[in-house]
């Protein structure tokens, strides 16, 4: 972490856009490793050593994806000082909205009172925040929208195989949102992204909806993952993506304030930090310890926590890096938002469950 004035003086090559504000939602049910181990033959120590996870938060039935997304969005708008009717487009990244259509984005836009913005969902798994940020920045830069609301939301607890020793402990729920708008200086660097469909089975939904129809005894579709293959893929491929993102933004590792990789596994983060030889002053996101792997939500959650605790500097440069089901990957350098935030805290109580809540779940 560096002094705010030094952080603001660091420059990057990129679009004249920036993150105006940030908001998140962490659901109300804390789930400890001991609770996870009631269903699998494992231990707190094993889970911590393999993943770095100590705690995750799961959504109550009333904490729907629409509710969590809208709550995070409203907090981001308030933090940005923007009203809902100024939003020109709403992008939602999710893999756990259990309706094939309509999009979650349209419902969220309506719920927060945005006035007829463009609205759509994207499917880029854990890389969804970085993918969405690239789209949002390009839209603002092109004049397609004055402000874009980008929201990542997941209820991965619904898609978690609670009896699978390899993944039962991994996932958490939540939402994170940012407002992207115009800026007097470059605030979002060019995205470096890609996909490799030959790896499409590495992290996947265990069965399709049609399999469920054709063979009703098919278990409820869940996340299936070859963890070792993902780890190996990440070890080979992510370092160069990070280096290209820095290069395209014209930023040296030395000029970074923080490194905020997708919180997939603490061991992957450790490996990246070692490979990239980041200087000691660069703060590294480690929020997987208390949030678990929340897919595309992990970067905004980590960003908020780092800004709130002072680990990251408002206005400083951060390297974002993510990868997920597809496999897909994306990274970019951004200037961190300057609006003050408080740390993400789990909701004290979930909202009341209603018939409407059940239908949007």
């Amino acid at each position: 972490m560096s002094a705010p004035s030094a952080a603001a003086a660091a420059t990057l090559r990129g679009a004249a856009t920036s993150l105006w504000g940030l908001g998140t939602y962490l659901p109300s049910r804390p789930v400890t490793n001991a609770m996870i181990c009631e269903r699998i033959d494992s231990s707190d120590e094993w889970i911590r050593s393999r993943s770095g996870i100590r705690l995750r938060h799961w959504a109550d039935p009333s904490e729907t994806v629409e509710f969590m997304a809208a709550t995070a969005a409203e907090r981001a708008l308030e933090n940005a000082g923007i009203t809902a009717d100024q939003v020109g487009c709403v992008i939602v990244s999710t893999v756990s909205h259990l309706h094939q259509f309509p999009s979650l984005a349209a419902g969220v836009a309506h719920r927060i009172g945005a006035a007829a913005p463009g609205a759509f969902d994207i499917s880029a798994g854990c890389a969804g925040f970085c993918y969405g940020l690239a789209l949002a920045s390009d839209m603002v830069a092109a004049g397609s929208a004055a402000y874009v609301l980008l929201i990542a939301v997941e209820r991965l607890s619904e898609l978690t195989d609670t009896g699978d020793k390899g993944t039962a402990f991994l996932f958490g729920d939540g939402a994170g949102a940012v407002v992207v708008g115009p800026s007097g200086q470059a605030g979002i660097g060019p995205v470096v992204w890609g996909s490799d469909g030959s790896q499409k089975d590495t992290i996947r939904q265990s069965a399709s909806w049609s399999a469920l129809r054709d063979a009703p005894e098919t278990p409820w579709p869940r996340i299936t993952m070859n963890g070792r293959e993902v780890f190996k893929w990440a070890a080979y491929h992510l370092g160069p993506v990070a280096e290209r993102a820095l290069e395209r933004a014209g930023v040296s590792a030395d000029a970074l304030d923080s490194f905020i990789p997708h919180q997939a596994n603490a061991r992957i983060t450790d490996q990246l930090v070692s490979e990239l030889k980041l200087p000691d002053h660069v703060s590294v996101a480690r929020s997987i310890e208390t949030h678990g792997n929340t897919s595309a939500v992990s970067i905004p959650l980590a960003m908020q926590e780092m800004l709130a605790t002072g680990a990251a500097t408002p206005g400083g440069l951060a390297l974002l890096l993510s990868f997920g089901t597809g496999l897909v990957w994306a990274g970019q350098v951004i200037r961190l938002p300057t609006a003050p935030v408080t740390a993400p805290v789990p909701a004290a109580t979930p909202p009341v469950l209603t018939d409407d809540t059940r239908s949007v779940r």
């Binding site: 050593s49 393999r50 070792r228 293959e229 780890f231 190996k232 070890a235 080979y236 061991r267 490996q271 070692s274």
Partner: protein
């Protein structure tokens, strides 16, 4: 098994130190990655990722699963075959 300190063994020792902070003097050709050096499955992946970088040899998962000791890994890297 040869007791000569090969270059391959030397590089493997460096990798084991880097990945899992295993002191070089604890590593012998007989050392089992799991039982003696106490590497878990993710650390073993990291070792073979660095092996690929240093030696330019990609070791598929199904191969390194059978390279249970340091000596077997050295033999594979030097001769390109999984020892019997």
């Amino acid at each position: 098994m040869s007791t000569v300190q090969s270059d391959t063994l030397q590089v493997l020792k460096e990798i084991l130190d880097e990945v899992a902070e295993v002191p070089a003097d604890q590593v012998t050709l007989e050392s089992s990655f799991v039982d003696d050096l106490e590497l878990d499955s993710l650390s073993i992946v990291s070792v073979f990722v660095l092996v690929q970088r240093r030696f330019g040899v990609e070791v598929p998962n199904e191969v390194f699963d059978r390279l249970s000791t340091v000596g077997r890994a050295v033999a594979y890297l030097e001769h390109g075959a999984i020892p019997e």
